[in-house]
Amino acid sequence: MTDAGGKKVASETLLKVEGITKIFGTLKANDGVDFDIVPGEIHALLGENGAGKSTLVKMLFGSLQPDGGTIYWRDSAVSITNPMQARALGIGMVFQHFSLFESLSAAENIALSLGGDVTLSKIAAEATRVSHEYGLPIHPDRLVGELSVGERQRIEIVRCLLQQPELIILDEPTSVLTPQEAEKLFATLDKLRAEGKSILYISHRLEEVQRICDRATVLRHGKVVGHCNPRDETAKSLAAMMVGEDIHSIERSEISAGPSSEEPVMVIDGLSQPASSPFSVPLSGITLSVRPGEVVGIAGIAGNGQSEFFEAISGERLQDKGSRVMIRGNEAGRLGPSGRRRIGAAFSPEERLGHGAVPSFSLSENLLLSRHASDRKAYIGPLGTIRRGALTKTLERIVKALDVRKSGYDPAASSLSGGNLQKVILGREFDRSPALLIANQPTWGVDAGAAARIRQEIIDLARNGAGVLVISQDLDELLEIADRIAVMSDGELSETVPAETVTRETLGLMMGGATPEKHHEERVATMEAGQE
């Protein structure tokens, strides 16, 4: 906090953007955006999903062309027509969704992006040198498919650093990292800043931005709503700038009836299954129960078996015997998704496009995806015809209930922003009033306003008597909404612990796979001591 607000490294700016405008059809994705970055600063770009952050960054990196305005690089106007040119200027980018080939080694992936005819061994040596210099250990010879998400991100960063950029753009870098991995990333960023490099840091995690960023530019609906020093703001005031209204804080009443008094709505008993492909994770001995009225959270870093676990509970993959998964007292292990929905379960997968929704289909058709069996009478007429009127009525209801913003009456799923599509996918289940909801990453990549709304809906559903299981990488989210939390690591699930007694650090250690038992025992011991 010593240098807060006191950065006067150089009078010249590295990058300056004046009046940048980008129009898609009738939508102004960027509307006269101004901001600048000076050498040796970490500059945050804040905004909700759909605020225009990605559009802006794509124009800086040359993958989109602005319709108006000017970009200045070291005080001279430039037009960046493609990423190659951006790299030549000295702009590097680490994308949120990694662009790595899983079946190639780290060095091969780096070589692919560098192009040219440098030998692989030379690249590997260079990559190792850079990785040591910045505290980003990587193994150049390992296949990317075998690496954790944090390691993959390090490859992306090393690859970016090898191009010796002056400005590095990081898009939501910590969304996939454990708190410990994030710490390491922050240390690297500090080192880069100390060397006079500049970083444009895109994140929705306000505490992080406050911690590491020197200045922030906040975007809303394509316009700059403010520049600020994030350290002078509170997380709440930053969020309010982004959303344009005060975010209502989540209301979480205590569980009314004693949860232990009622029959569990779902019981999973010793669920194990082999990996279905070389890149999937086997599950072993998962045991869990969810009671009516409570939210159970499952924490864990992506790729530790959460997707496999979700597909096993949703019935996309069947179990070896019916009693492995009991839903409301019914043996569900041998039932497919439709059968499980008929007995009151509802599911919301992590991937919105291509799993939870068909991108090219209209929203009303996408409602049918999960409702055709559970609400057959309402939506399917004689001869198996689809009742379109009933579907659009349901869509109207969901749109109204969750304030879904869309263009047109019944647009294609792919035309909605992530947050709004997530509202539709979850709304389609809320609308059924299910007895059990399984939601995988319900607010992943969703803006703060929509996320708060979704979390409130989840809590309300539970407090109205449903059992809810939320799988999430976002610890803050779980600590906010869950009553009990378990951690999934390498295909195994820990015991659940009450949410009010657990800390981020403990969960983070368990997520990293670091001997959870010991910490867990300590935790339980202190819990018991505290209760007495």
Binding site: F24, G25, G116, S314, V358
Partner: protein, 358 residues
């Protein structure tokens, strides 16, 4: 230097709608160039190819005869293609349908009456379904590539037909020609308007099939299931739709329609089995399906266009003295034009310079 296809952010809706017409225009233009190179006057050649067959009533009947199998097969293929099942073996299913349906009048010529024809049509559909079931089950059960298995089964069917008409099913009174006996009157598919031309009820079947399939695909849960699994299999699984059931169902639908086309052709247009009963309808129907944008109603129009290319080939052979292989060339150009138009509507070409070492 390398050439890249870059996805267009907003493909033009206008061009998407016009794409089939655009492809036809490109085909006509390339055809004109081809005729010019062959030393024929392009405008006369194009006239005799595309216009002349439409100037006489009997010729329009011939057009419907050729369009009927193309539409029937292509409608079935559209169901397969929409569900991401690449059935390339409709030609074989067509032949097997023809053989299965013909078994009745050939093996039991004394069984006559009004039941013969419906029985033949049903047997024809069953024959096509049974043959389509082979690649379907192989794909559903063993994840076999259906493109290869269905294509290779075409040649098996062709040789099987050839063997039948030269061997066990040869006409005993046929002077050793490789043909089956002629079907008796009750086994012949009637003509629609026998006063003006030969067109038979096969075309009516094609229109009915197109309407029924269009309704099923666009208005029913089953059609929804097929489209979902074609667009994103994972979302289909999430919805609780069965991948294997859909693979088999769509193949069976395509097989049934190809088989119906086969028995209609043999019973309506030919009247007996011969070593070759199709000028490649099963393959041309693939072009028809894409030219019709996999929409059964569009396929009716596309089927008529491609049927014209067969007739035009015959006409051009007579009036211009060019080989009727020109039809195949036209069909090939048309398929490439359709695919190229669709590709260029969704992507633009970028020529990237040589990658530079850092």
């Amino acid at each position: 230097m390398r050439i890249e296809l870059v996805r267009r952010p907003n493909p033009s809706a206008l061009y998407s709608a016009l794409s089939p017409l655009l492809a036809l225009a490109i085909t006509a233009a390339l055809g004109a160039v081809m005729f010019a190179l062959l030393g024929k006057a392009p405008h006369l050649a194009l006239y005799s190819y595309f216009i002349e067959p439409l100037t006489e009533v009997w010729s329009i009947h011939e057009l419907l005869i050729k369009a009927a199998p193309l539409i029937l097969i292509a409608v079935g293929l559209s169901v397969c293609f929409l569900s991401n099942n690449w059935n390339i073996g409709a030609e074989g299913q067509f032949i097997m349908g023809a053989i299965a349906g013909s078994a009745l009048p050939i093996l039991a010529p004394d069984f006559q009456g009004p039941l013969v024809l419906p029985a033949m049509l049903i047997m024809g559909m069953l024959g096509g379904m049974a043959y389509a079931a082979i690649p379907a089950v192989l794909k559903a059960r063993f994840n076999t590539n259906e493109i290869l298995s269905s294509l290779m089964l075409v040649y098996v069917a062709q040789l099987f037909l050839d063997w039948l008409v030269r061997g066990p099913w040869r006409n005993p009174e046929g002077f050793n020609f490789p043909e089956s006996r002629n079907f008796h009157a009750d086994a012949i598919l009637p003509e629609i308007m026998s006063s003006s031309g030969r067109a038979h009820y096969g075309f009516v079947f094609a229109i009915i099939a197109a309407l029924v399939v269009w309704f099923t695909l666009n208005r029913t849960l089953k059609g929804f299931e097929i489209r979902v699994l074609g667009q994103s299999p994972r979302a289909g699984r999430f919805a609780g739709f069965s991948y294997t059931t859909t693979v088999i169902t769509t193949f069976l639908i395509a097989g049934a329609l190809a088989g119906l086309a086969g028995i209609s052709e043999v019973s309506g247009a030919i009247g007996q089995l011969r070593p070759v009963i199709s000028p490649g309808y099963g393959f041309t129907a693939i072009i028809v399906a894409f030219l019709g944008r996999l929409n059964p109603l569009g396929i009716v129009a596309a089927g008529l266009v491609l049927a014209l290319s067969y007739l035009g080939g015959e006409a051009a052979q007579i009036t211009l003295g060019v080989s009727n292989k020109v039809s195949n060339v036209f069909q090939g150009i048309l398929l490439f034009s359709v695919l190229a138009c669709d590709t260029l509507i969704h992507y633009r070409i970028r020529i990237a310079g040589p990658a530079r070492a850092e």
